[in-house]
Symmetry: C2
Subunit: 343 residues, 2 copies
């Protein structure tokens, strides 16, 4: 049977059009033009108001091609504190891991039962070690994750996150990310920012969940670290964890480690009110010729999360003096967690 | 004047086809399909042979979707040593910068003339400080780039690279990258590897040129570092460089810093024969469940670059024992530099 010339031509036309349309649509999606054209709200969990408006205005200022303050993609670095900025710090989740580790160490060596810090952990499960002990929480983390290989540590930490439930929020630890901050990081990435974490918390602890919870790969996490050695063990080379704190990434050391790991001043930095821990990196981000944005989260939502303030009020004072944008969790955030409580 | 219905229809058809074609072509380019379809040689400066074949076979093994050894994109980390692996180390280019700094320090303070290391630099411009001085070359770098802010240092280092000419190759320092290695890094990036540098050299020195010379952003450079402080100077916060070596990223510390900065074991590591400096990171990359690739560059091309060997032969022995791929610059590389000598 012969197909008419006309029909054959039409078939080619339709096929060509179909292929080209698919290509074009793929291109539009890859360029993120569809979302922009449809004016999809990039921050749906943020209430309308000053904070949300100022974030979006800043991103437009530095990313729109004709803007006098346009910043090239490679300089769009955004750095986020972790505890209290991306997830709750009541209790300090890393300390829950340390306590589990200490308990399991006692199980394999009962003689530890009367020694510190094991004794305290066994007798007072609510003790937070933060205020009255000589060892800092970071030293305790180094201690509880030491004398093993890096791979053994990773297995332990992954097991903790696979099972752990937040004691008051009743959510798995992997579900307690602040949804508005997850959206903010995604919004920044969609505008070609590279998103980083810079935390006082342990670098190897955050790296276990940073990709899954925040879309941040391990190599974009900065934090306190444990001394390691690359040694031979039973004739095999291993990465060995020592009982020793190496980097301690807090306060004025945060900008130093941002400089060490990134080598650039971030355009965008977010931290929170509690211990003046983020003033250093917020200041570091502001002292540059490029326009920059500083966000400071205030925990004022006792009902949906926690309410606490800072002795001395240093962070909020610095925010006022330097025109940093303060986030009221109560007023600026439509919701805090994306998941319903389990029970 | 009325345009016929026929003509109007044709105009719409052509316009639509044009827009869709542009979209489709953009899509193809964005997916890197064009190069693959045209079978463009990804490593044109590499001679055909075992080395080139084994690199391409490895990349196919870990990147082709149906391969039993497929590795997801996020785990495709490639780490390169710098001096002797990506650019020449005869002389140590960082030391040329140190010498210029020392000379300029003497100019502003003549009393330094009789002190060390200034005296040696002024009297013996060829002295390399590597073998007979108590201070290592890294300590000298810390010394010569200290007592200034990070921004001041960056200005100095950029000025050095803007003017400096390699003394024997007669090329600007920014043009002495090994072209085959530049191609290799681009080839790996086109296959969704993230390319990093891990050097004994100063992190802040390499970061000045890493993007321009190798397409590697500053935040993907690991190296030895100078201690810094975030302090107030005349009432202004500054990142201050101290005269003190901090990280010393050589030998067995290379895997430790790869773990600190990246948090993953690289799939692909390249180093070179000279001081056994890269055996550690090549070993680290090999001890994993994923398939991995180790490349060791042997400087055996006296005519086009330099020829030197390693006392004790540790690197080549390790390569043989562990089946690392050895590159003969003389036989494997069609050309070494992409630029013609200036004179």
């Amino acid at each position: 049977m012969r197909i008419s010339e006309e029909k054959r031509k039409n078939f080619y036309k339709i096929t060509t059009l179909f292929v080209l349309t698919i290509g074009f649509i793929s291109y539009l999606f890859s360029q993120n033009l569809v979302a922009q054209a449809l004016k999809i709200d990039p921050l749906p969990s943020w209430n309308q108001g000053m904070t949300k408006t100022s974030i979006i205005e800043f991103v437009n200022r530095v990313t729109i091609k004709d803007s006098p303050e346009f910043v090239p993609k490679e300089d769009r670095i955004a750095v986020f504190d972790h505890d209290g900025t991306l997830w709750p710090e009541e209790p300090f989740i890393q300390m829950m891991f340390v306590k589990e580790r200490l308990k399991s160490m006692v199980k394999t060596d009962v003689s530890l039962r009367e020694k510190q810090p094991f004794k305290t952990v066994l007798e007072d499960s609510k003790h937070d070690f933060d205020s009255d002990e000589k060892e800092t929480t970071m030293n305790l983390f180094a201690f509880a994750s030491a004398r093993m290989t890096e791979n053994q540590y990773k297995t332990e930490a992954k097991a903790f996150f696979a099972q752990g439930i937040h004691p008051t929020l009743n959510l798995p630890y992997t579900k307690v990310a602040y949804q508005p901050m997850v959206e903010l990081m995604e919004y920044l990435r969609n505008n070609d920012f590279q998103t980083w974490i810079c935390s006082k918390g342990a670098i190897d602890f955050i790296r276990i969940i940073s990709q899954e919870m925040y879309g941040i790969p391990p190599q974009q996490v900065i934090g306190s670290s444990t001394t390691k050695e690359f040694i031979k063990n039973d004739g095999k080379s291993v990465m060995w964890r020592k009982d020793e704190l190496d980097l301690f990434s807090d306060q004025l050391m945060k900008p130093v480690y941002i400089d060490l790991f990134i080598g650039k001043q971030p355009l965008f930095v977010a931290g929170n009110v509690r211990s003046e821990g983020d003033i250093g990196m917020l200041t570091f981000s502001q002292m540059q010729d490029n326009p920059s944005f500083q966000l400071l989260i205030n925990h004022d939502d006792e009902q949906r999360e926690f309410a606490y303030s800072e002795p001395g009020n240093g962070s909020l004072n610095a925010a006022q003096k330097n025109s940093w944008q303060v986030v009221s969790m109560k007023n600026d955030w439509k919701l805090i967690f994306n998941s319903k409580r389990m029970f």
